[in-house]
Amino acid sequence: MNTSIRALFAVAITACLASCATYKPVPEGYTGPVAVISDSGFSESGSKARIFALIEVDGNSIDNSFTASARASQGQGFALTTRYVSRPIPAAPMKVKLKGSHTTAAPIHAIFSQASGSFFSVEGVTDFTPAPGGRYVVKGELSKDASSVWIEDVATNLPVTEKVMSK
């Protein structure tokens, strides 16, 4: 095998492995308290939905409803299959990145929606300190004027983080 083919293999394998790795918010062996946080959203049609999701914990990308819905919709053309992810997280102070956005199965649909002014998105980082045993949900609003996303306590329906607003 010549050097360039070897290099190509190495790059391909590295890229493949890197794409497989997903940061687990609760690391292996963690024995401390946890809370559970779920993404939310709803379908506007068979091809478009609003999703509000936790996408990063302390700067690390985690599996979320955008990526899960994209995987579930692969090969379906314009038909969108939504998947709402729920996961345990350590009950400790953390920086979280939240995202609220329209999502579509086909990128071309997103482009047309953006062009027609019916595709909104907001994301940003905020502080979050989940309580042990707490149950939380990512909530948000999407509109032309202002979009926002935040985390709400399931028990009280009250926000427990700052609202991340679109600028």
Binding site: C20, Y30, V34, A35, R71, Q74, Q76, R87
Partner: protein, 196 residues
Amino acid sequence: MKLSLHLLVVLLVSACAGGPFGEAGTFLPPKHREALQAAKVCCASYRDIQYAKLQRGVETKIVVSTESPVFEFDGRRGFFAAFELPPGANRVLVVTTVPVNMLWNRTGHVMIPAVLFLDDSYQPYRNIYPPYQTDSQPFRGSWAQGQVEVPKDARYVILLEGPAGGLAWRDRDQASGSLFVRGGPTGEIGVSLFGT
């Protein structure tokens, strides 16, 4: 280059073969149900079951096969996996399952576990059928995951075949766009306990 190709072929073939579910072309659940009916019940009561200790924060993978113990759960026999839970108040159990014998998709099956909690005195007091969400990724393959809040007084947990008839995974090779994998009494499952 030749060596690499050979290596690749060997890896691919070995990945497909073997294990208790490596019978390509045979839908195993009927066979496994026969084995289940013929097998001896392991224990007279829940108290007699052997419970493996479940560690917090560590995924335990289990193969539930025709070699697994059999118990009579409320008049219905089942293979199972049983664990002792560390005590705690805010505990979450994550159960995963993967489809097996999938070399020919149509004959694969998946165990869709029900989660039976027992208290300190080995009394069953909650049987939960968690909703399982299916997913798949390149290299990792297909799996389904369910999440259960562990009741406060739960001391033991048993995973056994639930009532669901199967699970559907996205699969662009199928005309419907999804592949329905039928449920069975055996399979490969994983369980993780979080919380204190």
